[in-house]
Symmetry: C2
Subunit: 160 residues, 2 copies
Amino acid sequence: MNLTRSIAYYILKRMSEELLPLTVRMMDATDLRRGFLAALSVLKPAELTDEQALEVFRNRMQARVQTYVALIDDRIAGTASLFLEPKFIHGGGIVGHIEDVATHAAYQKHGVGASLVAELLSVCRRAGCYKVILDCDEQVIPFYEKLGFRRWEHTLRIDL
Amino acid sequence: MNLTRSIAYYILKRMSEELLPLTVRMMDATDLRRGFLAALSVLKPAELTDEQALEVFRNRMQARVQTYVALIDDRIAGTASLFLEPKFIHGGGIVGHIEDVATHAAYQKHGVGASLVAELLSVCRRAGCYKVILDCDEQVIPFYEKLGFRRWEHTLRIDL
């Protein structure tokens, strides 16, 4: 039911705003030439050459981290990542972990982030996930609450 | 420095308490016969047959989820899991995600959980992680703070 609500929300959001034709799909290496790192840099500067970024992309595929992109006019408008974790608990159920949701500064307020998250939730549902979790700052919680997420636990960190 | 502090803490903790000989290592399939699911069930009942658990174990290896176990007298006293996520941001740095830290009810208060987390932090350091994160309930935050973790973000969840 939460998923239905979040998909409905993103469709309505897209309908109610300036509609730029938007495609969401898995990233491929050529997206590095479509402004991928520029879109991601709203989170943190990636500080990578194209060659280094390609190596990271390969490392992420090996680590089973799925990167998704949203395209407008063949440029990267946003990105979001997903990792699927099979658990022993919950009868061997799968948990989806969403990471690094970012919308390029030039494409804010066009439902890019909501479209990306809705696509990731669809992927998780097809994979049989029983829940999807993500960590975020206090200020973006309302964005995710509109998509059906709720507050759950606390994220702790240690720097190495 | 945080890592040094957390290792010092766990060594002191182990020295100051009843010392049961403890081994921490990566899980292998035979650990299912050493009480692995019973140890994990302090989190949630796994509700798996040995055969199903073996399949989940294989799925987790394919998904690059590393499962660690702590053994006392050749029985599973506890477990903790780790996933390494290479990032585009932070110059292609790696983030360690700790999941499902559990100590068997019969082995609580012997530093099992702290030993497991310290081992995972060592693995993360060797892998070149710049940070390690985990999600937890409010009530176990003091445990992780003693190991050097600090409050970071909020965990949100959606049920599918």
